[in-house]
């Protein structure tokens, strides 16, 4: 059994014609991407640990863009350049959209869906601005101990 498998792995697609075609997801990256697009944030991070190919794909910002606007009407095209300038969709999602959604989700107001992303974006922008301050300043005390405006979104750590 093992021998058969190893032989099949060595063979290229062309020589496989006579045998039963074996479907290997990594050969079909477009399908893989479509599947990954359906995942939620946590699963996407887990998927990034599967193999190098999945990791590369999962890092692709467009997957995270999808996550951000999943249940929301598609945003105007100008949003993308702004988000990319401020740090990218993955950062926006993990830093802002996800905690914002989970906290507001407890209140369950359907009308807020689109505004959640907008609010997340504003908070994301303030955070980018604060990060700018940390890297630019010379000798200012605020460098490392500067409070992050997104800290209130972090869950408290139970020590």
């Amino acid at each position: 059994m093992v021998e058969n498998h190893s032989r099949e792995d060595h063979e290229t697609g062309g020589e496989n014609k006579e045998k039963r075609p074996k479907f290997f997801i990594n050969d079909h990256v477009d399908i893989l991407i479509e599947i990954l697009e359906c995942l939620d944030g946590r699963s996407l991070c887990v998927a990034a640990s599967v193999c190098r190919l999945w990791c590369t794909i999962a890092r692709n910002d467009s997957l995270w863009e999808n996550l951000c606007f999943r249940h929301v009407s598609p945003p105007p095209s100008s949003v993308r350049s702004v988000v990319l300038a401020l740090g990218g969709y993955k950062r926006l999602y993990t830093g802002c959209v996800r905690p914002v959604r989970s906290r507001l989700g407890r209140v369950r107001r359907a009308t807020w869906a689109g505004d959640e992303v907008q609010l997340s974006l504003s908070l994301f922008c303030v955070d980018y601005y604060e990060r700018l301050g940390g890297s630019n300043s010379n000798g200012r005390l605020v460098e490392k101990s500067s409070p992050s405006s997104l800290m209130f979104l972090c869950k408290p750590v139970n020590v």
Binding site: R103, W112, L121, C125, Y129, S137, M151
Partner: protein
Amino acid sequence: MLRYDSTSSSAGSSSGSLSSSSSSSKPPQQDIDGLLAGAGYKVRSSELRQVAQRLERLETAMGNSPADFSQLASDAILYNPSDLACWVDSLLTEFAEPPPTCSSDFIVDPVNNQTVVNSAWTTAEPHTPQVHQNITYDEQQSLDNQLTVVTAMEEDSGIRLVHMLMTCAECVQSGDLSLATSLIGDMQGLLTHVNTVCGIGKVAGHFIDALSRRIFQGMGGGSVNGGSAFENEILHHHFYEACPYLKFAHFTANQAILEAFDGHDCVHVVDFNLMHGLQWPALIQALALRPGGPPLLRLTGIGPPSPDGRDSLREIGLRLAELARSVNVRFAFRGVAASRLEDVKPWMLQVNPKEAVAVNSIMQLHRLLGSEQTRNSPIDTVLSWIRGLNPKIMTVVEQEANHNQPGFLDRFTEALYYYSTMFDSLEACRVQPEKALAEIYIQREIGNVVSCEGSARVERHEPLAKWRRRLSGAGFRALHLGSNAFKQASMLLTLFSAEGYSVEENEGCLSLGWHSRPLIAASAWQAVPAWDNRMSSS
């Protein structure tokens, strides 16, 4: 150390030893319960219930720690038992904490009360069986019981602190500084019995400091505003992070400014207090994403001059410019350094007649108010040149409190309630370094409200109703903030997952409060055209 059964004849009259912690300078003979007086006790009728509760607590405490019991019998200072309230308190203190700092004001009572004391102790004993079991548990349990005694007493001490604070403020107002000074001493003593990490103890501590500064250092209060501009910025930043008030202010003002700028291609924002410029990234981003593309944005930031040659205004401007460049918004910044807002003249702002102007004042206008209502007070001057700029919108955010009353006691009372509420809301903050520095920020405000007068007192908060009258009288009309601002504010508050914050809408103005006590109010205004000429406005 004197024993209660000593034959010392220096007993003196007990009325002279009436504990100064009972905060009253009234003669002690009033209002004494007649029945107990017949038995030899002096207890005020109004305090009967409290004394009974404290006796109960004392009984529990004695039961919990019989070891202290015997120590108490042999080598404690006992106080005048006929003043039952103080006597019980002092014993309770000894059970809750070791008694190192006993005031020597208490005078030993003569022998005739000895039997009374004994019976009080003997009646306590039959009740110990149920609490005896606690002693066999591990230490933690008995510690908890002691703690419950302490917290019950704390509540009481907390209430006493508040009463003493009021009394002290009244003395200050009437000029009775000697009594005020002694009250300060007593309050500081009482503070040791109260948890100063949270709750009333913490706020009281700050108010006691402010009062003592007022009494001992006069009303210049220079030390309160002694913080450098740099320090103030850091404290302000931490206050921004620790609680939602400033975030609410920024986001609400930005929403109003964004809506006012709709359709304009050249816009100019004048910020009365730039600090770290934390308000503006969100506006820049919102302008970048507005349908139709971003306008040319000019920002003029007013701030105090930096002492050590650093141009902090320019640094903030550079940071904002970099952000604007990243998101493709044409941006220009100008800094105006002025130590007081009234020193700013409109020509410094270089407003272009073709641009839409927004004036943004987050907790700055109240600094212009003086206590005297003169004709050309700074507030009138500033409001009139703001009108002269003809801004599309003026966003005003102010503390919702009445801290500019002429009477000191009224001001003090209002400040005590306002800042207690604010500290309560701060309890909900979990992020530790921010919280401590945010508290220092608030503490400075308290110090200014309480211990300064004249031009040194800049924290002259007035409630929204007063601002409405003032601004309407100066030629402005209110703009409604709109449902988008309300929705955004509600969402923002929900993110601060502390139950207790509430947003309210009040005739087009939004206010953020803690448990329905509004603490900060945001409003938007527009200049009424042709006000001075009394022509019919368009």
